[in-house]
Symmetry: C2
């Protein structure tokens, strides 16, 4: 064969990522080989290298897409109700995503890159992350932005840990139960620390 031009480079990228997504979702990272992707979309593996630097680059792009999905799943939860309820809704949305797509989600964290991540990647993480900060904002005054950011990171990391351990089957109870406890303790503790005493939260 020679030149085909059935697809523009953008279409081809999308095609590859879509195939990769399906493979990982169904069979996990180990099944994600260049030959397999190529076969699924009717090309050969060499063609992938016109459109991705290497396998790591492809996985990074896939992870970017997964982060976008995750953001979509989580960003609608911060409306109405009180902070505790919103936190619970946010946590449930996150856990729900992880349960629906454990393999894709795992790929984000399990894959250890050889190369440093490119500039476009950290903002995608930060955007998902920012939802927690927004949800938490009503608890903190304008002056306590720093405390809010810290609390958001704390809760997010905790939620993350529960999802990791649940998806490994190491929890022996649902992540939702644990995260409810976490939120309850956090809210109760916050009222004591911020309201009563003079210690910063």
């Amino acid at each position: 064969m020679g030149r085909r031009a059935d697809h523009t480079p953008e279409q081809l990228r999308a095609l590859v990522l879509d195939a990769a997504r399906k493979i990982v979702a169904a069979e996990g990272e180990r099944a994600l080989t260049t030959r397999r992707i190529a076969q699924d979309i009717g090309y050969t593996s060499g063609t992938l290298y016109n459109v991705f630097k290497d396998r790591d680059d492809l996985i990074l792009a896939l992870n970017g897409a997964t982060l976008d999905e995750l953001f979509a799943a989580v960003s609608g939860t911060a409306r109405g109700a009180d902070v505790e309820k919103r936190l619970r809704a946010l946590a449930r949305a996150y856990i729900g995503f992880v349960r629906a797509q454990p393999q894709l989600w795992s790929l984000i964290f399990e894959h250890s890159r050889a190369t440093p991540e490119p500039d476009w990647y950290p903002p995608k993480v930060a955007r998902v992350f920012g939802v927690m900060e927004e949800t938490l904002a009503p608890l903190y005054g304008e002056a306590a932005r720093r405390d809010c950011a810290q609390a958001a990171r704390m809760l997010w990391a905790s939620l993350h840990g529960m999802c990791v351990l649940e998806s490994k089957g190491a929890l022996a109870m649902p992540a939702t139960t644990l995260v409810d406890g976490l939120i309850r303790h956090f809210i109760a503790g916050h009222e004591v620390l911020a309201g009563g005493g003079r210690r910063k939260a």
Copy 2:
């Protein structure tokens, strides 16, 4: 070559695991190949299969050894002082281990096995985990064992999440800072929930 018997099977296992440990600690999972291990200990890769079922089995054994080290690092922290201080000490020991051996620690969670884990593995995890439950026990009566187990899992998972994200560089602040906040909120919240109201912790 033929029969050598320079080492007993047990010695050989230890030799392999030691070499594997060094390779992972220094260069990460990607560098852990059977040929590389064999070369480092003066055998050929085929010999490893006398002593381990396959690469997954070898990694599982290495992870078991890492869990033993982790337990040793963490088990001495629950003595004296009040619960909050002990929690902090425990968390710092855990974080310290992760910072000292990020690659070995990551291997425990990043490696996705094809086969289910053998019987001897879960107790090693549970033992590390149990330290948190012991540390937390004074906060809960004999009757509230369940609450204690749940709180322990919650805190452990949270601590875990912070370590994961710190070792990925996704935290933008030290895990120790976050975990201190977590413990402070937990203790304050616990006093409210258990002491004041009638809600279970």
